[in-house]
């Protein structure tokens, strides 16, 4: 029997942790009260590059309440430090261990942790440290780095060629343009925080903001040479992350070292300004796209080159140009990706990493081509729709982007759009419609789920996964309820603890696919176990069926019943009771899926209407419709919130987000919410999130492809294209601020 989700689906459910969140009872990593707990405050370097000659920490050490100050001059290095930096590895692969040496690699690099018996005392003492540096010249300006710095080499940077790289040049209609995206910063609302409690010298309990319990546990094991069972990570709630919580960042390592040294539980919370340089960001990018097409709109060739950055001490790569290889049916493709090491902190994945960056350029370029062809941009996209993955030379497991286009364009009223730019005034404002499509890979990793079904009809599921907000426990509860045939309120999904059966990281839109498959398989196993217990019972035997097979029964409303005769049934509880069991308990494990015969992608079709005020340059998001092909939607209510959230991220990217570094000093200029603008309520209209909701037949039993990342991919392009339609101005450097309009 297949354990597939069937229509009619169970109605969407409210968040299972909703009550904890609205009452303030949900606990995040800085919110555990351990007796005797001390507070740690990080001190950052005030120069961008150089070496620390000396540090005067006396005043800090003598300040009231101070328990210890750790710097590169007095650190007791954990065992793992030596292993990591030894060997013959290139500078950009080495990484950087906090307080390991006296080199400064970026402005704000942690150079000390000050620990005291109260937060205020630690904060004050941290201001008393004096540092003497020898400064080096540095490079934080990507444009300036390009001619003088050598880009990184390696497999990730090989050019991709399909067909004739010059095809675009010889086409009758062509466009060429450059697109710029500044640094963007995740800025989850929760400040990154860690609380460390060494229970014995070789056993540690850690409350940490992490998207991956297993990776964090492993990293800490390696660093301190600890056994797995002695590294206990708890992450019950994460206040947003969007990619910033995969790494065990320097402040977390400092907290682990510090707590050990003062022999007290220790809490370290970054300040908002520290969040800009210590927990990653979306790297700046410069992209050049050239496209050639026939006059009828058929694209003949594309060239997509991207330049981006990483830290001088560690390589970070993402798939910026990949979208151009597969989103459209283009025979001739050339892509190139180069990154330059800079004297900045390490960038990291930020929502829709790579794809969001690449799709911004590609989807703007497509709009530019449509304009050059005098063709409707939606029509151009349909004309070049790809039905097979030309890059990987294989079919798609499913692709319903056309359907997404259809429902999205219908809802926004795309047909009312006059093709000419600046042709739709509304009072003092200029209206404009724009669209952009998004794509993100669907995949499935392995995961374990513990299951315990008890005679009182309750199902407990457990897995070491964390949830940064999308609602993993809610989706898994709904999925289990649906596949096992019991009410969601009889199910508890427990997570956020490394001692549970190993789950999967939360990222890359893979949680529902990976974990959901295991939950799905667990309920199937459970049904089989129940079946085995009672298959010989008379109640399931009819005149025609003497030998009941698993295929002959269904499981609904807490009852196993004969498909052919629903009166022949037994409740799950009765089944356990009749077998003399209190519960059934097991661990379900599902291996990852190596999708070799098909390509699986989720898609988004974003449509927006903007109003632009030509005199002041103010842009108002007037209407937004995002239609998504994410395969089966497990829980519509929380899934819609994910789309809305991705779209709001896209509004920020399009209209306001810009990390500014003062290149004279290599320091952040706008490292706070007053200066680094993110969308607030007044910036956001009522967003319509729509789903095609058709199952993918290959990736997993639910048919879900993932939605969290794709929600943002291509959105900024839709806004930029709408601004062009409204004003006739093509603004290629994000964010599109009023000064660029007037």
């Amino acid at each position: 029997m297949e354990n597939k989700l069937k229509e009619p689906f169970m109605p969407p459910i409210d968040r299972v942790d909703g009550k904890l969140k609205v009452t303030g009872a949900a606990k995040y990593s800085a919110e555990y009260n351990i007796p005797q707990m001390a507070y740690g405050v990080m001190v950052g370097s005030s120069i961008a590059k150089g070496i620390i000659l000396s540090m005067d920490t006396k005043a800090a050490e003598n300040a009231p309440g101070v328990l210890g100050v750790i710097t590169p001059f007095n650190i007791e290095k954990p065992a793992g430090y030596n292993i990591e930096t030894s060997g013959n590895i290139s500078a950009t692969k080495k990484g950087f261990n906090v307080f390991d040496d006296k080199l400064i690699r970026f402005s704000g690099q942690p150079i000390a942790i000050v620990m005291a018996d109260s937060y205020e005392r630690a904060l004050h003492a941290a201001t008393l440290i004096k540092v003497n540096y020898k400064k080096d010249s540095f490079q934080t300006n990507l444009e300036k780095a390009i001619p003088v710095v050598k880009p990184l080499e390696g497999n990730a940077f090989k050019d991709y060629t399909r067909g004739d790289v010059n095809a675009w040049k010889t086409a009758p209609v062509k466009i060429e343009a450059e697109y710029n995206i500044p640094i963007e910063v995740h800025n989850p609302m929760e400040l990154h925080a860690i609380t460390v409690h060494w229970e014995t010298p070789d056993k540690v309990l850690v409350y940490e903001k992490t998207q991956s319990l297993m990776d964090t546990q492993e990293k800490i094991m390696e660093l301190f040479g600890l056994k797995k069972e002695n590294v206990h990570i708890i992450t019950k709630f994460i206040g947003g992350a969007f990619g910033s919580a995969f790494n065990v960042w320097p402040h977390a390592v400092a907290a682990l070292i510090g707590a050990k040294q003062i022999n007290k539980p220790l809490k370290v919370v970054l300040s908002r300004d520290q969040m800009f340089m210590n927990v990653g960001y979306r790297p700046q990018s410069i992209q050049k796209i050239s496209i050639g097409a026939q006059p009828d709109g058929k694209i003949t060739g594309i060239n997509h080159e991207a330049i981006s950055m990483t830290a001088s001490y560690q390589e970070f790569t993402e798939g910026i140009v990949n979208v151009s290889r597969m989103l459209y049916d283009i025979p001739n493709v050339f892509t190139r990706y180069k990154i330059y090491p800079m004297d900045l902190s390490l960038p990291t994945w930020m929502r829709g990493p790579g794809e969001t960056t690449g799709a911004y350029a590609l989807e703007c370029a497509i709009d530019e081509l449509a304009h050059a062809l005098k063709m409707d941009p939606l029509k151009l996209r349909l004309l070049n729709y790809s039905d097979t993955d030309l890059e990987k030379q294989r079919p798609y497991s499913s692709k319903y982007l056309k359907e997404a286009f259809e429902i999205g364009s219908e809802k926004i009223g795309w047909n009312d759009r006059h093709p000419e730019p600046r042709s739709m005034p509304e009072g003092d404002w200029l209206a404009g419609y724009g669209m952009g499509s998004g794509v993100f890979i669907g995949w499935r990793g392995g995961a374990q789920v513990g299951a315990r079904f008890t005679a009182d009809g309750k199902l407990l599921l457990q897995s070491a996964v964390t949830d940064m907000g999308p609602g993993t426990a809610t989706a898994m509860t709904k999925l289990a309820a649906e596949t096992f045939g019991i009410s969601p309120d009889k199910i508890v999904f427990e997570m956020g603890d490394s001692s549970l059966p190993p789950g999967i990281m939360q990222g890359g839109s893979g949680t529902t696919s990976s974990l959901g498959t295991t939950v799905n398989n667990a309920t199937l196993s459970l049904k089989k176990k129940l079946f085995e217990l009672v298959k010989n019972k008379a109640v399931f035997h009819t005149e025609t069926i003497h030998d009941v097979k698993f295929e002959d029964v269904v499981f609904e409303n807490g009852q196993m019943m004969l498909s052919s005769d629903h009166t022949r049934k037994m409740s799950y509880s009765d089944i356990l009771e009749s077998a003399g069991l209190d519960n059934i308990e097991f661990i379900e494990e599902t291996k990852g899926f190596n999708n070799v015969d098909y390509s699986t992608y989720a898609y988004a079709a974003h449509f927006v209407k903007v109003l632009v005020h030509p005199a002041t340059g103010v842009i108002k998001m007037e209407k937004i419709v995002s239609a998504v092909d994410g395969g089966t939607i497990v829980n519509d209510k929380t899934a819609r919130s994910q789309i809305i959230g991705g779209v709001v991220g896209g509004i920020g990217m399009a209209l306001m987000e810009e990390g500014v570094v003062d290149n004279r000093y290599g320091r952040w200029v706008n490292n706070n919410f007053a200066d680094y603008h993110v969308p607030v309520n007044a910036d956001v209209p009522h967003i319509e999130a729509l789903f095609v909701n058709k199952p993918d037949p290959i990736l997993n039993p639910m048919g879900s492809k993932g939605i969290g990342e794709v929600a943002m991919v291509g959105f900024a392009a839709a806004v930029a294209n709408a601004v062009f339609h409204a004003t006739g101005k093509r603004i290629r450097a994000l964010p599109i601020t009023p000064d660029k309009i007037i």
Binding site: V22, A25, K27, P64, L191, F237, S641, N681, A682
Partner: protein, 207 residues
């Protein structure tokens, strides 16, 4: 504590003075065993004592007589000393609204006010909004409309939303958007937050 006492007294000169003078007092008064310790710890304890100021606050209907350093913000008092961690810290600079509480019924960023300035005031935090097990209508509405994802901005949004309605600033969608713009939600749940506030207001129950 008297509301007038708002002068910050945390200059390091004063602290050092306190430390020295208090050590002398300690020398005179302490039994010999403590004297032997004669170390930083004792000084710290005494300095800590002199650095603190008595404050009386009412938090979620409960009277608190506290002794706190003048530099402690209301937010840190709630989170770190009273363990009322429902009130969140998102910026510590009055830029995000995660720390919104009610002081005498008005919404205030708890990170922007020192606890010693609130003597005699009535403070309500998210923990004090529900009536026992019965959620406040605004909390219900946030669940019903899924007005959050990660939940970190949520206590601040809800406290702000309750005040927003009471102020008469929730008369239209645009009104709500404007008057809720001091509360950032990085998960981007604004559409649902507006729906929740409208619904709670329409529900007509006393907010």
């Amino acid at each position: 504590m008297d509301k007038k006492v708002t002068t910050p007294i945390h200059s390091s000169a004063r602290r050092n003075f306190l430390k020295q003078s208090s050590a002398m007092v300690a020398l005179a008064l302490a039994p010999p065993t403590i004297l032997k310790a004669g170390d930083k710890k004792v000084e710290d304890q005494i300095a800590g004592y002199f650095e603190k100021v008595p404050v009386k606050l009412e938090i979620n209907g409960k009277a608190h007589a506290l002794s706190i350093e003048p530099r402690v913000t209301l937010l840190d008092l709630l989170r770190e000393q009273l363990h009322l961690t429902g009130t969140k810290k998102g910026c510590d600079h009055g830029q995000c609204g995660a720390c919104t509480v009610h002081i005498n019924g008005k919404r205030v960023n708890a990170c922007l006010t020192l606890a010693v300035m609130q003597g005699g005031n009535k403070i309500t935090t998210i923990e004090g909004l529900a009536n026992g097990d019965e959620l406040h209508p605004m909390q219900e509405a946030f669940i019903k409309h899924d007005g959050f994802q990660c939940g970190y901005c949520t206590p601040g949004q809800i406290m702000s939303a309750v005040a927003c309605v009471k102020e008469g600033h929730a008369e239209s969608d645009d009104d709500i958007r404007e008057y809720m713009s001091g509360n950032i939600c990085r998960c981007g749940c604004y559409t649902n937050i507006v729906d929740a506030i409208k619904d709670a207001k329409k529900g007509g129950k006393s907010l």
